[in-house]
C-alpha cells in the first residue's frame, strides 16, 4: 500500500482515471447544457463565461459534448475490454489446459489470423458487415481484443500449470476446471488486470478513430472522435475545437497507460516485499 502511494506514475494514473470516471458519472445527471441542443446564432463562440470551452459550428456547448463523450468512451472501453478479457481468458486457459492438442492449435491459429490484421482495420472490416454504430463498435473492438488476452492468458496459465502446486492439486483429486478456477485464475489475474488497463486505453483510442471515420458513435450522440472530425473543417477559424477533444483522448489514453504501468510494477512478484 505504501509502495502504491509512492509510485508516481501509478498515482498520476489513478488520479487521472478517477477524474475521468467522475466526469463520466456527473454527465449522467448533469451537464452545463443539453449536448445536442443547437443554437445557430451562438455558433463557433470562443471559450467564455457562458460556454466555458466555446461552442461548435451548430452552437452546441463543447463542455457538455466532451462530458457525454467521456461517458461514451468509457462505456466502449468497458464493454470492449470486458468482452475481450472474458473470451480471451476462457479460450486462453482452455488452450493452455489442452496444450499441444488439436483444440489448442485450432484456437491459437485462428486467433493469430485475427491478430495478423491491424486492430483498427479489423474493426472497420467488422463494422462494414455489421453496420456502423456505438454498440457494434464496442463488439468490433472487443473482438480484436480477444487474441491479445487469449495469448497472454495461455502463456501465463502454462507457466502456472507447470508449478508443483498444480501437481499437488491433481494429486488431491481436483478436476481440470477446479484447478483452472482455484489455482490458475487467481495466479494470472494480476497480469490480466494490467493488460486490461492498457487495452482499455487502446479501446478508447480505437473508438475515437472509428467515430472520426464516421462508423463509430452516430450523431446526435457526441463522441470525441467525431468532434475531431467536425472540427477539422473549421481548423483555421476555431482551432480550439480540435484541441479540446484531442486533449481529452490523449489524456485518457495517458491515464490508463500510466495506471497499467503502475499496476505492472506493483503486482510484479519479483518486486513484492516479503
Amino acid at each position: 500500500m505504501r509502495r502504491a502511494l509512492s509510485h508516481p506514475s501509478f498515482m498520476i494514473g489513478v488520479v487521472l482515471s478517477a477524474a475521468i470516471l467522475a466526469v463520466a458519472l456527473i454527465s449522467l445527471v448533469w451537464t452545463p447544457y443539453d449536448p445536442g441542443q443547437m443554437r445557430i446564432i451562438m455558433r463557433l463562440k470562443p471559450p467564455g463565461a457562458d460556454f466555458w470551452l466555446g461552442t461548435d459550428q451548430f452552437g452546441r456547448d463543447v463542455v457538455s459534448m466532451l462530458m457525454v463523450g467521456t461517458r461514451n468512451a468509457l462505456m466502449v472501453g468497458l464493454v470492449a475490454v470486458g468482452l475481450g478479457l472474458t473470451a480471451g481468458l476462457v479460450l486462453g486457459m482452455l488452450a493452455a489446459r489442452f496444450q499441444g492438442s488439436f483444440l489448442d492449435e485450432a484456437l491459437m491459429r485462428s486467433l493469430d489470423f485475427v491478430f495478423a490484421f491491424p486492430a483498427v482495420l479489423t474493426a472497420i472490416l467488422i463494422l462494414t458487415f455489421m453496420g456502423p454504430g456505438l454498440a457494434n463498435a464496442m463488439i468490433a473492438i472487443g473482438i480484436f481484443n480477444i487474441p491479445v488476452f487469449a495469448r497472454q492468458a495461455r502463456g501465463a496459465a502454462l507457466q502456472v500449470m507447470a508449478q508443483d502446486y498444480v501437481r499437488a492439486a491433481r494429486l488431491a483429486g481436483c478436476g481440470t476446471f477446479s484447478i483452472l478456477r482455484r489455482h490458475v485464475l487467481p495466479n494470472i489475474a494480476g497480469l490480466m488486470i494490467v493488460q486490461a488497463s492498457t487495452q482499455f486505453a487502446l479501446a478508447i483510442l480505437a473508438e475515437a478513430g472509428l467515430s472520426y471515420l464516421g462508423i463509430g458513435t452516430q450523431p446526435p450522440n457526441p463522441s470525441w472522435g467525431r468532434m475531431l472530425n467536425d472540427a477539422q473543417t473549421f481548423l483555421s477559424r476555431a482551432p480550439l475545437l480540435a484541441i479540446f477533444p484531442g486533449a481529452a483522448i490523449a489524456l485518457s489514453v495517458l491515464a490508463f497507460n500510466l495506471l497499467g504501468d503502475g499496476l505492472r510494477d506493483l503486482l510484479d512478484p519479483r518486486l513484492k516485499e516479503r
Binding site: Q163, D164, Y165, R167, A168, A169, R170, L171, A172, G173, C174, G175, T176, R182, H183, P186, N187, P269, R274
Partner: protein, 262 residues
C-alpha cells in the same frame, strides 16, 4: 508383509526438440525398464545423481504421468494409465511431497485452503467446523499452530512450508507417501527436523514411504531398502546395510566413495 506398491518394467521417455523441420524427432529416455516392489510399512530409498530419472519415476508412481510401457500397481491394482477421473478413488491413498517448498504451495491460497484441498475432494460432505478441526489437528501434528491457518505461504520459511506440504499430503490419511527430495532445498539444520518428522509420521500413520534423494547419508538413515539408479535404469538394489557395506556394482561404490566423510 504384503506388497503395497509395485513397479513393473516402467518405461518413460520424452521427445527432444526437433533439430530441423525434417529432422527425425529424437527421444531421451528418463525411465528405462524399472521394476521393484515396496512392502507395506517399509521405506524404499531411491538414490542417483541428477538426471538419473528419479523425479520422473516419482511422477509415474503417483500417476501424474503415464508410462509408455509397464505398469504401476497399488495394492495389486493397476493404477498407471488411468485417467484423472478413474484414479480419483485411490488418489487420497497415495500422496507426494515435492522438492521445492516454494513452488508446491499456491502463493494465493491460505494455508487453511491449501491443506483442506485434498480433504474437500475426499470428503466433500465435511462440515466447515469439522474440516477446520481436522486441519488444525494436522497442523499441530507437523509442529505448526492454529495461527498458521489464515496466513499465506510467503509468510513462512522453507522448513515451515515443507511442514505445511507434509500436512497437506497426510490430511487424507494416505497409505503411501512419495517424497521427492523433500529436504534438499532446505538448510542443513532444518533437514534433520523434517526427516525426523517424516519418520514419526510414518510410524503414527502406518505409512509406506518412497524416499527419493541424491543424498546417500539421508537415504541410509531412513531406508529399509535402497535402489540405485543411473540413466533411467536400476543399477543395484538391496537391503540398506548390505548395500552400503558391500556394494556389488562399481557405480554404487563410486557414489559411496563420493560421500562426504564427517
Amino acid at each position: 508383509m504384503s506388497v503395497i506398491l509395485e513397479a513393473v518394467d516402467l518405461h518413460r521417455h520424452y521427445p527432444l526438440p526437433r533439430e530441423g523441420i525434417f529432422a527425425r524427432r529424437r527421444h531421451v529416455s528418463a525411465v528405462n525398464g524399472v521394476s521393484f516392489a515396496l512392502e507395506e510399512g517399509k521405506v524404499l530409498g531411491i538414490v542417483g545423481e541428477s538426471g538419473s530419472g528419479k523425479s520422473t519415476l516419482a511422477r509415474l508412481l503417483v500417476g501424474l504421468e503415464a508410462p509408455e510401457k509397464g505398469e504401476v500397481r497399488f495394492l495389486g491394482q493397476r493404477i498407471s494409465g488411468l485417467g484423472d477421473a478413474a484414479l480419483r478413488p485411490v488418489r487420497h491413498q497415495i500422496q507426494m511431497v515435492f522438492q521445492d517448498p516454494f513452488g508446491s504451495l499456491d502463493p494465493r491460497m491460505r494455508v487453511l485452503d491449501s491443506i483442506g484441498e485434498p480433504l474437500d475432494v475426499a470428503e466433500p460432505g465435511l462440515a466447515p467446523e469439522a474440516r477446520r478441526e481436522r486441519i488444525i489437528g494436522m497442523l499441530e501434528r507437523v509442529g505448526l499452530g492454529e495461527g498458521a491457518l489464515t496466513r499465506y505461504p510467503h509468510q513462512f520459511s522453507g522448513g515451515q512450508r515443507q511442514r505445511i506440504a507434509i500436512a497437506r499430503a497426510l490430511i487424507t490419511h494416505p497409505k503411501l507417501l512419495i517424497a521427492d527430495e523433500p529436504v534438499s532445498a532446505l538448510d542443513v539444520s532444518v533437514q534433520a527436523q523434517i526427516l525426523n518428522l517424516l519418520l514419526d509420521l510414518k510410524l503414527e500413520f502406518g505409512l509406506s514411504l518412497v524416499f527419493i534423494s541424491h543424498d546417500l547419508g539421508i537415504v541410509r538413515y531412513l531406508s529399509d531398502r535402497v535402489i540405485v539408479m543411473q540413466n533411467g535404469k536400476i543399477v543395484e538394489e538391496g537391503e540398506t546395510e548390505a548395500l552400503f557395506s558391500a556394494p556389488a556394482e562399481a557405480y554404487t561404490r563410486q557414489l559411496i566413495a563420493a560421500m562426504p566423510k564427517l
